[in-house]
Symmetry: C2
Subunit: 196 residues, 2 copies
DNA sequence: GTAAAAAAATACCCGGTAGTATCTTTTTAA
DNA sequence: TTAAAAAGATACTACCGGGTATTTTTTTAC
């Protein structure tokens, strides 16, 4: 039971790449088969149907690798201003996983699937939920440590920052250039400093 | 040449409603025919194909009505802080045109079409372009009038605000509740005041 | 080494969807 | 009033996409 696991993973990975670029609905099973050199029989041996594969991609690929990018930066962070800025900078400018022209895979999927597939929304909601939680915690600690004003509302700030991220990803896609990211980051910095 | 115009408009309007709720790709021509009580012959008399209809919807329905919501608030506005906040409040809380659970039609379409249809991106880009322009202008005037600090960068602020809007629309869809809008608006207010 | 189970290959089906071809009705302009 | 053009109706086609049924090959356990 080793080769089987390998092909399964291969399907997930290559399917993810296609979906990231073309969108979920616009990626056909046949596309995936062509890309993976796997036959239909093999595909349906590993997955009950397309949606099951989609959920597997989120759970087994997206969650782990994004959890790393979204959540890790807050481990042992002291100053929320720095932590949030660094995380965002990393997400937008350094993360090799995501390309400007294709946006953020989590955001893409949420947007695409939310209206008509509860299962997807649920798993994706967990992802943003985690992100929100760890960021709020960081801000609260920052308040206690005096890095930012006591009057700051952690949940509000978190939602505000998260919204900005999703939005700027959209602009990146539209303009297909990182220059909007740079502009955004400058103002994010100014905003975060206003929390001091 | 009167009735014809009416059916054309009827198709555009009803198709828009369907697309707003179900997404573009997930709305079939047959869906539109069922809804409008128009036959295929009539449909293809008015539109060369589905995409041409899509573009027409953006140009003839979306642009005018959104231009109104996005741009009108800035006419004869003095204080950018108030103008931006009011516009956002109106967009999120009062605008009857848009429903929380379905997000912002312009944002939805951009997200859905950007990866694979340049034509759509282009027209949608014009919309955001207009928005950006008028908002920048308002901020610049506000700086001169002393409503906000001279050090504020108008383009940065505009992009920051626009991103927030697109992002919070996404959250609204996910949570299907206006409460996130309220939270967002509170922090937006705080942010805008920091520009003074 | 062999039988049983796992993994993969092949061929097919069925429903949905965009688009066409052709015919019929309705408007319009003279 | 009537001929021509506009608008609309009907019946198809061709294709694509997800999914199934069945057979063949490969692994695994004994």
């Amino acid at each position: 039971m080793k080769k089987a696991e390998a092909t399964r993973l291969d399907i997930l990975r290559k399917a993810f790449e296609l979906i990231y670029v073309k969108g979920y609905q616009n990626t056909s099973i046949d596309d995936i088969l062509a890309r993976t050199q796997v036959t239909k029989g093999a595909f349906y041996y590993h997955f009950k149907n397309k949606d099951e594969m989609g959920i597997a991609i989120i759970n087994e690929l997206l969650k782990p690798s994004l959890a790393n990018a979204f959540i890790e930066p807050f481990r042992e962070a002291q100053d929320p201003v720095e932590a949030i800025y660094r995380m965002m900078h990393h997400l937008l400018m350094e993360n090799a996983f995501m390309k400007v022209e294709h946006g953020c895979p989590a955001s893409n999927l949420t947007q695409e699937m939310a209206p008509w597939h509860a299962g997807f929304s649920e798993v994706l909601g967990e992802l943003t939920g985690q992100w929100e939680k760890v960021m709020i915690k960081c801000i609260e600690q920052g308040k206690k440590a005096g890095h930012i004003r006591a009057g700051v509302n952690a949940r509000q700030v978190t939602l505000f920052v998260m919204s900005g991220y999703w939005g700027i990803r959209n602009f990146g896609k539209l303009e297909n250039s990182k220059s909007v990211y740079r502009t955004y980051l400058k103002e994010l910095r100014a905003y975060l400093l206003s929390l001091r």
